[in-house]
């Protein structure tokens, strides 16, 4: 009887909200799209389409796909690619690295050092490993850490608005 009671209590407590999961991914995708509006890629970047590669996060990739259906970056069509590894990722304008792959950021940064690519991490604190932007939460609010030098060393230009709205990281 006691065991049943405990089980019932657990069932009562466990009210997992799928909505909560998707809201975070949805807003991260919206933020990411907005970042692209505030960063300028050099003329030698992929001219045909705007490629966003998502490493290790299916949920994020799905939200970005929804965006890609309704939005463009400039005149370019947005193409979402998924990958489970960091090697051989060419022609990406943006690479988004999931939390589970965060240990690979320094390797990813080295792999992409010659490319005009905006590196974004889902996990905070990765600007020191080469991320241009790291998502974080502050007092229950979604925010982002931003490192201007990590953006500029890939040949990208960032406007002051994006810098001022983020948490600057040296």
């Amino acid at each position: 009887m006691k065991q049943k009671l405990i089980f019932l209590l657990l069932v009562l407590f466990i009210t997992t909200t799928e909505e909560s999961y998707s809201q975070m991914a949805k807003f991260k995708a919206l933020f990411l799209y907005n970042f692209t509006q505030n960063v300028e890629w050099p003329s030698n970047a992929n001219q045909n389409e705007f490629v966003i590669t998502v490493i290790g996060d299916k949920e994020m990739a799905a939200e970005l796909q929804k965006l890609a259906q309704v939005k463009k970056v400039g005149t370019k069509t947005i193409v979402i690619k998924e990958s489970s590894q960091i090697k051989s990722l060419t022609d990406s304008h943006v690479i988004f690295l999931s939390s589970g792959k965060s240990s690979l950021m320094s390797m990813l940064s080295a792999e992409q050092q010659e490319n005009p690519t905006l590196l974004i991490s889902s996990k905070e604190g990765l600007c020191n490993d080469g991320a241009a932007i790291s998502f974080t939460t502050v007092d229950g609010k979604l925010r982002y850490e931003i490192c201007s030098s990590n953006i500029e060393k890939h040949g990208l230009k960032v406007n002051t608005k994006l810098l001022s709205l983020g948490i600057p990281v040296n």
Binding site: L10, Q23, F27
Partner: protein
């Protein structure tokens, strides 16, 4: 402070909180935002999108994932990384987690950490050991129950007692308002942090001051046993380049009694006013009149103009803890690649806890007054840290020779270079640690150092972190140390490999070695104790050795970390470690002597024969072997419920175990000396030699008042192997829940439990029963800025002893508030 004052403070805080609280002014409701289409939202500028996100808010469950399951850690690799990826056994306690748990001090918060056993000695004073291995060697001083195996740091600055070895928790100047997180690394870590990180390292990381930091924040607890604990912080980022702050904290707690325990040492009959009594708890007045056999148990004596008596030893026997600390912070970021952090502070403390010496009671009063200055700088890939700790610590108030001034200087320079998949971190460090008792003793010879003595440590280190593939990580950390008093160079290392089976599962293996540092008492002791409260022996001479080997631990560890679902994190670690080269106080020799040689030569008195004992801090043959495993689970069950639990099982056996106490060995030696068939002839010869020496001027009878008859250095045989060491319980752990039925209310119950233990020191064996300690904190968030709470520690008021000879720990019932503006 009485209840009425407390209520006034609570009401006033509520009023001001409501007055200053700001309500959100956004025009859209959460539902309206959630109903917006992707296309609508994607057309908004970033600042408006951020406002909408703020209305929706990061869901509670996402916050819980971040708080509990997605933490970052710095201490395991000296770089920020996910706890999941940490190559070592690592736990991070966040500020919010600590506050939610209701822990009343740092030591108590460590009950949330897997593998850490925490036992309360007196109200607010704790024994903390990572994985146990405590009280080794046993059958010796209570000093060896202190944790000499764990290096505690504040932002990487060692806060360690190099005098005797151990951690003086009450002298930590910081408190919860200062702390961002506590990082605990289990397993030998000297290669990363230097000596004394033998069983692990605890790094207390202070908060970063930025534009999000509240200008004023604090918390206050008050309740039973006159317990009042408070914290206040005033911090501000004044410009993009400069931030500063000042914090203060205080804590005062009472015991439930003002009596202290007196043991009957070696069976001597205790008596008060002529009436025989058993060992037990007595008032100071009773102890002042107490005898052990024929001797006064606590005779007063003069040190200069001051009387050293039981009342000086225990100035506040009803109080268990009193401390306060202040800290100042200044952070400057002159360029984007340079940061300078300066931190300084002061603390004052007085605690009643277990003794570090050999007195008729297991209690002592420790009084400390210390300050520090810590400079950390980062210039591109270089990091530098230089700091000073200093002050005065009286380890046993009212006992001459235990009050010491100390100065510790540390310098560390490291360079970190990352090449794609390889990170290289060379470093050099220097530590100079000085203790000086000469200003606190009446004459040279009354202290155990009798002068300023110094230990210098120069070290070089190298850490390589290599990822040959995206899944495989190999780490090698090496360190070599040179001491000023030993020829040997001490090497410590960590070799780690981890392999990510996939994003959700990681396996790892560690082989590591770490060593203690030299301690001042082990190295430089030179103390003569003329005993006045025991019949035997008459003199004890304590000496240190500059060539003692340093205790080392080797460990092999296998770990498995799994994230089967985004809501759960499971961490399993199995470890085997072997420790050797323990250093402890042990008998060298017992000599019989005539203590009235001139009177015997003059034939005015019969010979007064007693013993002189020579002891030294020496290496033991003892080897400790520990096999164990810890499992921890962090589980976010829902937005309302979060569970964390950990369980450790271990078995420790010792080889070359000496089943005799110091006094049993001395008794053995004395028996041999007294059984000497030539004893009478040797007494005569000793007197002749003494008389001749005095006559020729070779002996000054005012300095050497005795004539040595014979000496014995043999020790009893019978060392045992594979002896089960029971001072560490075979199991311990914790289970806690955070339950938030409503957004403003949080209930945090915790059960901390451990198994039976058997603690042995030189005066007896104390069995500690298995126990469960139930704690609970209920918090109500009145506004975003103000939270009220009630907090019960040991809710069931079990009144059990958690640590040998120390107080029975009852319930502690507190109420309070925390605020931020």
């Amino acid at each position: 402070m009485n209840l009425r004052h407390l209520l006034i403070i609570l009401l006033a805080a509520t009023f001001f909180s409501h007055s200053f609280a700001q309500e959100p002014t956004q025009s859209k409701t959460r539902e309206e935002v959630l109903n917006m289409t992707m296309e609508e939202m994607s057309s908004l500028p970033l600042e408006e999108l951020m406002e909408l996100m703020d209305i929706v808010g990061v869901s509670s469950i996402e916050e819980l994932y971040d708080l509990l399951l997605n933490k970052n850690v710095v201490s395991a690799s000296k770089k920020e990384e996910s706890v999941f990826d940490s190559p070592l056994s690592t736990t991070v306690l966040s500020h919010d987690q600590i506050i939610a748990s209701g822990a009343t001090c740092i030591e108590e918060a460590l009950r949330l950490v897997p593998g850490v056993i925490v036992r309360e000695k007196t109200n607010g004073n704790y024994d903390v050991h990572i994985r146990g291995n405590d009280n080794l060697p046993s059958k010796n001083l209570l000093l060896y129950s202190e944790n000499m195996n764990t290096l505690v740091m504040i932002n990487g600055r060692p806060v360690f007692n190099y005098s005797h070895g151990g951690i003086l928790w009450e002298t930590l100047p910081v408190s919860f308002e200062d702390i961002d997180r506590i990082e605990v690394v289990r397993g030998p870590s000297s290669a990363l942090y230097g000596p004394n990180a033998v069983s692990g390292a605890i790094n207390i990381i202070t908060q970063t001051i930025d534009y999000n930091t509240p200008l004023l924040s604090g918390n206050f607890n008050g309740g039973s046993q006159n317990t009042y604990i408070g914290d206040l912080a005033l911090r501000k980022q004044v410009s993009d380049k400069i931030s500063l702050g000042v914090t203060g904290n205080f804590e005062t707690r009472d015991r439930k009694t003002d009596e202290i325990f007196i043991y009957s040492r070696d069976g001597a009959q205790l008596s008060v006013d002529g009436e025989n009594v058993d060992d037990g708890y007595f008032t100071l007045d009773e102890i002042n009149r107490m005898r052990s056999g024929e001797q006064e148990i606590w005779p007063p004596y003069m040190v200069g103009d001051e009387v050293y008596d039981i009342y000086k030893s225990f100035p506040n026997p009803e109080r268990s803890k009193y401390r306060y600390g202040v800290n100042g912070y200044l952070n400057i970021d002159p360029t984007s690649q340079t940061s300078i952090n300066l931190m300084g502070g002061y603390q004052n403390s007085e605690v009643m806890t277990s003794t570090m010496g050999d007195v008729p009671t297991p209690y002592s009063t420790k009084i400390a007054s210390t300050g520090y200055l810590d400079l950390r700088a980062k210039i591109h890939d270089f990091s530098l840290q230089a700091n000073y700790n200093g002050g005065t610590i009286d380890y046993m108030s009212g006992n001459e020779g235990f009050e010491l001034d100390n100065e510790q200087y540390s310098f560390l320079a490291e360079y970190n270079k990352t090449f794609s998949n390889l990170s290289v971190r060379p470093g050099v460090s220097y530590q100079s640690i000085s203790y000086d008792d000469s200003k606190h003793i009446s004459e040279i010879g009354k202290g155990y150092l009798n002068q300023k003595q110094t230990i210098n440590i120069f070290a070089g280190s190298l850490r390589l972190d290599y990822m040959p593939t995206e899944r495989l990580r190999l780490v090698a950390a090496l360190r070599a140390e040179k001491y000023n008093n030993m020829d040997d160079v001490y090497a410590s290392w960590q070799f780690v490999s981890s392999y990510k089976l996939n994003d959700k599962n990681l396996i790892r293996a560690v082989y590591s070695r770490a060593n203690q540092s030299a301690f001042l008492v082990n190295t430089y002791s030179n103390y003569t104790w003329n005993i006045v409260n025991m019949e035997f022996p008459r003199i004890m001479q304590f000496d240190g050795h500059t060539d003692n080997k340093l205790k080392t631990m080797d460990m092999v560890e296998l770990g498995f970390r799994s994230r089967p679902d985004k809501s759960i994190l499971i961490d399993v670690e199995a470890f085997y470690n072997r420790s050797k080269d323990f250093v402890a106080l042990a008998p060298d020799m017992t000599s019989l002597a005539v203590f009235n040689p001139l009177e015997v030569i003059a034939e005015t008195q019969a010979p007064d024969i007693n013993a002189i004992v020579n002891l030294s801090f020496q290496n033991m043959d003892l080897i400790s072997n520990q096999l164990g495993a810890s499992v921890s689970v962090d589980w976010v069950l829902s937005e309302k419920l979060m569970a964390t639990g950990h369980f450790t099982y271990q078995k420790t056996t010792v080889d070359n175990y000496v089943p005799y106490s110091r006094n049993e060995i001395l008794g053995y030696q004395a028996t041999i000396a007294q059984s000497d068939p030539d004893l009478m002839a040797k007494i005569g010869q000793a007197l002749v030699d003494y008389g001749t020496g005095v006559a020729t001027g070779e002996i000054d009878p005012t300095q050497q008042t005795y004539a040595v008859i014979n000496s014995v250095s043999e020790t009893p045989e019978g060392e045992e192997d594979d002896f089960e060491h029971k001072a560490t319980p075979s199991y311990w752990g914790s289970l806690s829940f955070s339950y938030r039925p409503w957004k403003k209310f949080e209930f945090f119950p915790q059960a901390y439990f451990y198994g039976d233990q058997s603690f042995t020191n030189q005066y007896g064996i104390i069995d500690i029963e298995k126990s469960i300690n139930i704690n609970a904190k209920a918090s109500y968030k009145a506004t975003d800025n103000l939270t009220f709470f009630v907090n019960c520690r040991n809710l069931l008021n079990t009144e059990k002893t958690q640590f040998a000879y120390m107080d029975k720990i009852g319930g502690l019932y507190l109420a309070g508030l925390s605020f931020k503006w």
